[in-house]
Every structure is written in C-alpha cells, then in structure tokens.
Symmetry: D2
Subunit: 248 residues, 4 copies
C-alpha cells in the first residue's frame, strides 16, 4: 500500500513537472491532427470520453468563429444598397449552419459588423460619397446595419464593431481573443477579397496558429474573384475547407 | 503704379493670412470636384469678420474636444461604483461649460466612453473581478455607462467607445480625427493619472500639434495626484490652462 | 479702377490656385516661428514656373514612394532563397527607373524592408521553419537582406523595417508620413498578392487620398496572380497605371 | 502488478485530462507566490529539483525583461545631451545587475532603444527642434544612441527600436512577446514618468498578467517625480519591488 502511494505520488509529480513540456507538444499534435492517441497509446480510453472528443474540446475552447459583415446592406438585395455583395445572399444558410455547429462545439462566436456615423466621417474615403442626409450603407441604428434575417447574436456571443475592412484594424478584437487564449480562427461571411481576406491576412500577421476560411460560407461578387483570394490565402498557410469538411 | 503695388501686397498678405481658414474649405470643394473656378465667386469677402476671429475660426475647425469617461459609474456617487473617481462629480459643471464653449466655437466634440461586455472579457485583467452576474462598471446598456446627468451627446457630436485607458488605444479615433484634418485637442473629463494622461501621451505620440488639458475640467482621486500628472504633461509640451483661461 | 479690380481678381485666383504649393512652405515657416511677415518678401513670384508644374510640385511634395521588399532574398535568384518571387528579378529595372523618376520630382522615397532576428522569432508562424542556425530569409545583417543590385538608399530617403506583409503593420510608417503631410502613395516592389496588396489595403484603410500601384514595377509568382490583385485593388479606388503612364 | 499498471494509467489519464483545469490554477498559484507546495503538500520533493525552482523556471520562461532607453544620450552626462535624465547615470549598475539576474534565470532580455533619423522626422513634434545638421539625441549610428558603458546586448537577447515613449507604440514588440508565450514583464531603465510609465500602462492595456517595475533600477529627473509615477502604477495592479526584493 505505501509503495502504491509512493508510485502514485511519483507519477503525479512526474506529470506535473512535465506539463510545461507536454502541453506544447500535445497542443502541437492536436493541432496537426495527430491526437493524443498518437503519442500515448497506453492510455485506456474506455474510462472516459474518447480522447478524440477531449482533444476536440480543448481545440474548440481555443477557437473563435468570426462572422463578418453579414448585415442587410451587404447581403440582402431587398435593401437596394450600393454595397450589396452579389454572392452574399446565397451563403446566408451556410453561415447560419456554421454558427450552429460552432455553438454546439462551444466555440466562441464573434459577430463583426460595420456601423458608421450618418455623416460618413468614419468611412473609407472612397465610399464617403455614399453618405448624405443621415443615410448610407450600414449607418448605426438603420435597418441596413442589422444582421441578415435568420442570423442572431445570442447570449455569450460577442459583437465587435469595425469601420474598415479588417476586423482587426483599429479595434480591440485581438486583445479580447488573445487574452481569452484563442489560437484558432474560423472565418465566415462576406466578402472574400476585402473584409474576409484582410481579416485573414491580419490574423496571420497576428500569429494565430490556425486560420481557417470556410469556402462555401464566404462569398464575393463573382466566383473567380472568390477563388483567386482563396488561392492566395492558401499560400500563406490558411486552411480552406468547406463547411461540410469542417463539421465532420 | 506704386499704389497698385501696395494694393497687391495688401491683398497678397490678406489672402495668405487667411489660408488656414480657406484651405479646409477649398480642399473640400476640390475633392468634391468643384475646382477653383467654382468657388471664387462665392467667397463673400465683404462679409468677412475681423481677421482675428477668422483665424480663431480656422483654429477651431481643426480642434477637437475629447470628453473622457464622464459616465455615471465614474463620477456619480449615487451609483456606488467601485470605480468612482473621488474628484469627479465636482468637475461635471466645468465639463458641461467647456462643452458649451466648444459648441459655440464650432469645435468638434467627441464623447469617449467605456462600454464593457457583461462578462468583463474586454476589461483590463486587474479589474475583471469586478464583473459578475452580468453586472460591473460601465457595462453596455446599464445605467452606470450613461453620461452623468447634465451631459448630452448632440447631433454632430461623435461617440467613441473604448475599452482601455487611452481613447486612442485599439480604437479608430486617430483615423477619424486625422482625416477630418484635426490638429489640436482639448481634453476634459476623468481621471487625470489614467484615462486623461494616457490619452494625452498617445496624442503627443500621434503628433497632434497642440494638446491641451483643462486643469479644472479634469479630476483625480486627490489634488496632489491630479497635479503630479499635470506637471509631467507640461514637460512634454502639453498646454494646461484653466477653463477660464481657455475660454477667453 | 476696373483694371485695378481685374488685377486684383487675377492675383486672388493665382494665389488661391497656388495654395497647395504655398501651404506646406508656409506651415513650415510658421511652425518654426517666422510668421507671414518673414516670408512675404522672399516669394520670388517673377521666377515662378508655369502653374501646371507648380501644381505638380505641390502634389509631389505630398507624395511618397514606397519601395517594398526589393531585397536579394526576394528578387535575386542567385541567393537560392525559398522566398524568391518568381517575377521579381524582371521588375528590378522598372523599380530603379521609378525611383529615379520619383527623385527627380522631389518625391520622398521610403525603402521598406524585412529584417528578421536569426532565431526567426519575429517572423510569421508559417515561415518559422525556414529559420535555423542563425540563417533564414532576410536575416538582419546577412546578404539576403540587402537591396537588390542596382538599388540604393540615398541621403534624404528613409529606411523602414517591417516584420509582416504590410508596411504599416506594427510600424511607425503612418506616423512619419502623416506628420510630413503626405497624402498620396506610389507603390512599387514585390510581391503583389502579399506585401504590395496588404500595404495598399492598409493605406486605403488609413485614408491616404490617392493610392497608386505601378503595375509593371510590381510582380508576383505568376501574371494571373498579379492581375487578380490589381483587379481587386481597382475596386477600392486604387489607381494602377504603368510606369510609363505615371512618368508622363 | 496489473492492478498497479491500471492504477497508474488511470492516474496518468486523469492528470492529462485535467491539464486544462490544473494549469491555469497552478499558474495562478505560482504567480501569486503560493507555489506548488501550497496545493499538493504530499509531493515528495526529494526526488527532483525543489518544486520552488521548478515553479520559478516555469515563471521565468514566461517572463521578459524590458531594458528601456539605457542609451548614452539619456544616461551619460559626458554626452551633453539635452535629453539627459538627471537620475539616469546612478541606476546603470542596478540595471546591469538586474540584467545579470535575468540572464541567470533564463529570462528573455529585450533592449528597447530609440534610434532616430538625422532629420528628426520620426521624432515627437515637441522635440524636433533638437535635430539639425544630421545631429540630435539618439540619432541612429551616432555615439549617443549606443548603450551606456557597461551594458551589452548578448546573443539570444533582442533589440527593439522605437520612436515614441512606449516600447509598444507602433512597434512589433507585443507580437514577439505574445507569440513567445510571455505573460510577465520586468521593466528597468529610464525615465519613470515617460518611457517607463507609458510602456507599463500599455503593458497593462495589453493584458500582460504580471507587470513589474524595479523601483531602484528606474529613474527620473527628481525622486518625487519618480515616486509619483510609481504610486500611480501601483493603483493599476503593477508590482514595484526593489531589485533586492525581486532577486530573492
């Protein structure tokens, strides 16, 4: 009995002392898809939830979904906005489904939206002519700034207001995510060559370990424009699965 | 002929001395495509006020007043907030008066406020323990985040939400001000050693030409704390008049 | 009397049309304490070149050329760098020529370069595997970080070190340019979908009034990749002339 | 014997599965000084290095020392610089000693220095008059920009160039530190109310978990100015030990 205790203590100490070494290693393995099983095959999986789901749970708690610009003025043709993204409406169901999957997995969901002053004085210069008489695309408080029908911010989600393409440009998003320990980003919304791509490139610049764009839950004015940016993003280490591939 | 020369010189000097006033106007016209020809006839030189007041007007059009953190949780003792600034309530009238003077002068007024997520996940680490059960200082939507009684955002003003001390930290404030051509800042609010000082130091780092703190429209927990920061700010070129001195 | 009026009108128009040229000069004088009186006599109006070239001079004094990543590891095949841009070497002459034109026009030239720690700890995560044994692409002090043969930093130019794609990401470039009064950017270098494009998009986000990419003094791995980004940049108001069109 | 193995496996799995919960807890304990011994008193310390040093090693690998502005123009009276910090020279030995302690502990050392263009065009506006004829405080390449005698950058250290007070303002420092997993900062150098304080406040804004200023390895023009900033920093959760207290 004492020898059992000694052994146990030993082991406990060992593992604790190793955590600094084990953790980064495990994290790397998990991220690269190997999973715990690949490293310590002797672990008796029958005593608890499968390691795969454990590893997944760990991964999801460090993952954030960024839903970008899914606002009426960008994706709802009924608004008649000059900034409507041609391919936007078609991906609303995929975005909604991606958010549902994210919530089921316990992934933190951040709704990134534009909200501009009616004067347009916080809009990019090349778009300021669109603002007059207190109106313009995604003016704060107007209908065009609302999320597209079928999309909702739930308790526990986070709303992040931006005024430029990238969700990270002159916002506190990186601060919130880094301090929460987020390492992975899954990105959906519109539109691929501008807000999606700028957010993705900034995410890479900000050293998020895994940056992912769901190729069929993002959209641009035309498929070739969409695909050209997807191709470029792949070259800088961004993963580009479909929603179906990601949800498996 | 000499009289012609005198006249010309006179006119030249006059126009040159007006450039601070004319330029913003011309720039706006030119950018919008009007060109020089379109404006010349419209300049009502005969109606010009004195050069002095015109120069002042020019200065004010390049000046922004930042009103910082004048929210109930910071300055209204009735809220019982743990972040109440002891000297805050006493300066509410001076802040209101400073804003009134700014408006009369046509100065752009920006209301800088904190608005935090009920979870506290966008608050500084050392203050997160103050957030629980959906409550905490200046939580978005709660009464403590409102402006102190007697202070109001008017049409034409701008509201800027921040989550850290400095109004420039991870916000788009510098972008809005620089593009509007703002060169001078007048700063009021609470509290001197933290949000005021950090905003001021960032403003100096961002090369605003004139940064001014109204010493009796700002406050700290104690007068000596207030004065120590005022002293330090003077050493980096910041002007520190009283409200009375500034309004002259 | 009518002739007086005509003369005065003439002069008024003349001075007004010159303000873009005069202003930077006046501002510099005023800031340094000289005042209007100190300058008036010095303006040699009789020697003025044509208004057109003066307007151009005004424009050039507010224009900066950004030369991006023209370093041996990116454009010189002899280095054998894993980050060689296939189309890079071919545009070295055009970049050199663009710089020569810029200098002749008095345009401020900024050489934007990557310089990394030998450990690779300031490189993007997806490229860190390229660094070991004190070597890696554009390591500070190594030959690969030098400018390509034929390109030189001259006195009056500025060298800006960056560690990410965009020349504006986590650097003081915007600060230097805005405070110098720069409003226009002309961008050359490599490579179009990454460093060029990210710099361009950030420049637009930072409200530079005119952002220009010289299409044949920039390059990517393949022409179609280059052109896809040029097309996208056009949609956000970026001008994309050839070197020949720009130098006219 | 099989039961032993089962037990061991069980325990291993248990601990591994707990790491997400244990780690944050342990980290918090370690950071607050309790140490592992306070939580799991049954661990037989005799089998390996003392837990205290283990915990320390963990802590030090997540700690960075920022040595700020210890350049000749700031701390060496022989330079005759207008920006000499009166109390600077006196703390050179303490700074050198703090760096020696940091190196012994394996703490990452970052040398933060100012290096300005000879033209002064990347200096704060209120200091530009100090630059002319290619000279001025801490001009890149001149003697005044060198580290004070007795201070050296060693292999493995990092040099970070800044152009404003805060080491984090418009630099990639936060990026390097966050990606290295740094959570704690120990700050030494000059001068307390400007570069030290701005760096400290930005560090708090950037959510570093523990920010520490060594009170006798930092200095200002006068002791009362130094102490006023130390007092303010304490109110936002910054630790302010002496070098002696920290080295224990």
């Amino acid at each position: 009995m004492p020898s059992h205790l000694a052994l146990l203590s030993c082991l406990l100490v060992l593992v604790l002392s190793l955590d600094k070494f084990l953790l980064p290693y495990l994290r790397k393995r998990w991220l690269s898809g190997g999973g715990v099983a690949a490293i310590i095959p002797r672990i008796p999986t029958s005593h608890f939830k499968s390691q795969r789901s454990m590893a997944a749970a760990a991964q999801w708690s460090e993952t954030t979904m960024l839903v970008i610009d899914m606002q009426k003025d960008f994706v709802d043709p009924a608004m008649g906005s000059p900034l409507l993204v041609a391919g936007g409406e078609a991906v609303i169901p995929a975005v909604a489904e991606a958010v549902a999957v994210a919530r089921k997995r316990g992934i933190f969901v951040v709704w990134v939206v534009r909200e501009h002053d009616p004067s347009g004085r916080d809009v990019e210069l090349f778009r300021r002519h669109l603002y007059s008489g207190g109106k313009g695309p995604t003016v704060k408080g107007l209908k065009g700034a609302e999320l597209a029908d079928g999309l909702f911010i739930k308790e526990g989600d986070y709303k992040l207001v931006k005024t430029r393409f990238s969700a990270f440009f002159a916002t506190h998003l990186d601060s919130v995510l880094k301090t929460l320990g987020m390492k992975n980003l899954v990105i959906v919304g519109v539109q691929t060559p501008n807000c999606i791509r700028q957010t993705v490139y900034d995410a890479v610049a900000l050293d998020y370990e895994k940056v992912m764009v769901l190729t069929d839950a993002t959209a641009a004015a035309r498929p070739d424009i969409h695909l050209a940016s997807i191709r470029d993003m792949k070259t800088i280490g961004v993963e580009t699965p479909t929603l179906e591939e990601w949800r498996r």
